[in-house]
């Protein structure tokens, strides 16, 4: 983990309101594990004050670059995506505990919702790099075609690739959980990984649990420090306590979490 100033190398709109940003960050790229994230400072002034967390979508260890996928949802991300190429950003990372790699045989399922595709791309990229690459079945759900951000990057790293959109503008019309049900029915999955809206991940967790497929999800929470010191980013654990998203996560085995509490804290 290092705290460094990184040059913004490129910044391109991939889908409406979604930007792919490349940073020169050799120390972070070298260390990064799939599913880890960086904590970024947007402006130098004190409003907005806090850093913003973003998953590492790709860590190019050869060139020392990081790729992030940023969706504009508020003031911080608005400022971030308007940062001119060439400017420097303060970056802390790599942070958190990423995805455990698959150990046994069998296929790997990846279930992405919207911008949640980012950490799954980093995971798929790592799995591709193995001597005996796992067979990846990628599932990507979005509201419509426009929201299938970075789908080419994702699809290119999967052996099979399925898309659903709510309005049917691309792939099957429907929810990604319907596609997941079919995949689970095939009975070949050894492990599932998911990232997307909480309600989607809760459903994925439930379905994988029912099918006895170990499942890992990448969660989000408002953060203070990003490195485990402030206890600000917690999420309800199955055992009644709380886990830190920034340090114990952002990736958790779905059965370690109290999904009911997580969903109700969101309301």
């Amino acid at each position: 983990m290092v705290s460094v100033e990184c040059e913004l190398l490129s910044n391109e709109e991939d889908a409406p309101g979604h930007y792919v940003m490349a940073l020169a960050a050799p120390e972070i790229a070298a260390e990064a594990q799939p599913g880890q994230f960086v904590h970024l400072r947007t402006p130098r002034t004190f409003d907005p004050l806090l850093r913003r967390p973003f998953s590492i979508m790709l860590a190019d260890k050869v060139h020392g670059h990081l790729r992030l996928l940023a969706q504009v949802v508020g003031r911080g991300t608005e400022i971030l995506v308007n940062t001119p190429v060439g400017a420097k950003l303060e970056v802390l990372g790599p942070l958190g505990t990423g995805f455990p790699l698959p150990t046994g045989d069998g296929d790997v399922l990846m279930v992405a919702g919207g911008v949640g595709v980012a950490p799954l791309i980093s995971l798929a990229d790592a799995l591709r790099g193995f001597e005996h690459p796992a067979y990846i079945r990628g599932l990507f759900g979005a509201a419509d075609e426009d929201m299938l951000v970075c789908w080419i990057e994702f699809a290119g790293r999967c052996d099979e690739f399925y898309v659903t959109t709510e309005d049917g503008s691309a792939g099957e019309r429907g929810l990604i959980t319907e596609a997941l049900a079919q995949q689970l029915d095939r009975g070949q999955a050894a492990v599932a990984y998911t990232c997307g809206p909480v309600a989607m991940m809760a459903a994925v967790a439930q379905m994988c649990g029912d099918a006895d497929v170990p499942c890992y999800c990448s969660l989000e929470q408002r953060m203070g420090c990003g490195i485990g010191a402030c206890l600000g980013c917690v999420i309800a654990a199955a055992d009644g306590g709380y886990l830190r998203v920034c340090k114990d996560g952002p990736v958790f085995a779905t059965d370690r979490l109290d999904w009911e509490a997580i969903l109700s804290d969101q309301q």
């Binding site: 983990m1 004050l49 802390l92 929470q221 408002r222 203070g224 010191a229 600000g232 917690v234 309800a236």
Partner: protein, 306 residues
């Protein structure tokens, strides 16, 4: 410009600090989290997260809300309890050449006394900070808002421990100097000024408070003017060292606090924004004192007072 090396050291009772920059409780975990990023022994002292007698799970999330130039937190004193802090957390800190201060939070006078005894006996801490100002737990602020309770609490803890005693004051009071005087008269060796301001943020989409706990403690640059005012007022009424806390982001802010009357500063929220803020302030103060030919800390403490 001179090449002399100014003396920034400072003494609070038996606590000897090589410089006046500390971390603020709750913003630096148990120290080790930041060890990868900088050398903790460069700091004057490390103040760890509040310890309570029993383990506490803390408040439901969300626990953090960003506000203009500030943040609200409602951690709710999550910690593994005094025994686990002593057996699991403090030994890790022992590796570093830096004084350790533990922040104590009790539910009764008795519990504070027991905490003080436990940590005094463990031999691993250099001073106690009494948190009588936590806005995020029920009754957390009671001891910090009524001078007679402050006096009783500080007096009893004083009797129970030989460690240097720091009392951390709340800004959420009509007259902070009343509480300050009560704490000092009862034997507090120093005062931390201030803890967070009580605040709320509303989530307009969901039409309810953003924080799981409804209210939270406001920290960060937004509160700096209030913290400076509190330090200023307390400095005029007491003679013990004041540790300035509240919105200190950089060397310039630290200088403001020292000029207002603080003998030391604690860096809190700044560490989230810039993880190396505290050590940068150590270096910045050293440079400022050298460049301005100030022989020691005392030469600047309270300099802005008439």
């Amino acid at each position: 410009m001179t090449s002399s090396s100014p003396d920034l050291s400072l003494q609070i009772g038996s606590l000897q600090m090589k410089n006046p920059v500390m971390t603020a409780s709750g913003t630096f975990g148990y120290g080790v989290e930041y060890a990868e990023l900088f050398d903790m022994s460069k700091l004057g002292a490390v103040v760890i997260k509040a310890a309570t007698m029993k383990p506490r799970v803390g408040n439901p999330p969300p626990r953090i809300a960003e506000t203009p130039a500030g943040m609200l937190n409602a951690i709710g004193l999550q910690n593994p309890g005094a025994d686990a802090v002593i057996s699991e957390k403090l030994p890790q800190l022992a590796e570093y050449d830096v004084p350790v201060i533990v922040n104590l939070s009790g539910e009764s006078v008795d519990e504070y006394v027991q905490l003080a005894e436990k940590f005094s006996a463990c031999g691993q801490v250099d001073a106690l900070e009494l948190n009588i100002s936590c806005p995020n737990v029920e009754h957390g602020m009671d001891f910090g808002t009524r001078p007679e309770l402050t006096a009783e609490l500080v007096g009893k803890v004083r009797a129970a421990s030989d460690l240097p005693l720091i009392t951390k004051l709340s800004p959420n009071v009509t007259d902070i100097t009343e509480i300050a005087v009560a704490a000092v008269d009862a034997g507090s060796d120093a005062l931390s000024v201030i803890n967070t301001l009580l605040g709320i943020s509303i989530d307009v989409e969901r039409r309810r408070p953003l924080l799981g706990n409804v209210t939270g403690g406001l920290s960060g640059p937004a509160i700096k003017p209030v913290a400076l005012r509190c330090v200023w007022q307390v400095y005029e009424q007491v003679d013990v060292p004041i540790i300035g806390v509240g919105g200190i982001m950089n060397t310039r802010d630290a200088l403001e606090f020292i000029m207002a009357g603080a003998s030391a500063v604690a860096v809190g929220t700044a560490t989230f924004v810039n993880p190396t803020a505290s050590v940068e302030i150590v270096a910045g103060l050293q440079q400022y004192f050298a460049e301005h030919d100030l022989p020691d800390l005392g030469a600047l403490v309270g300099a802005a007072h008439p």
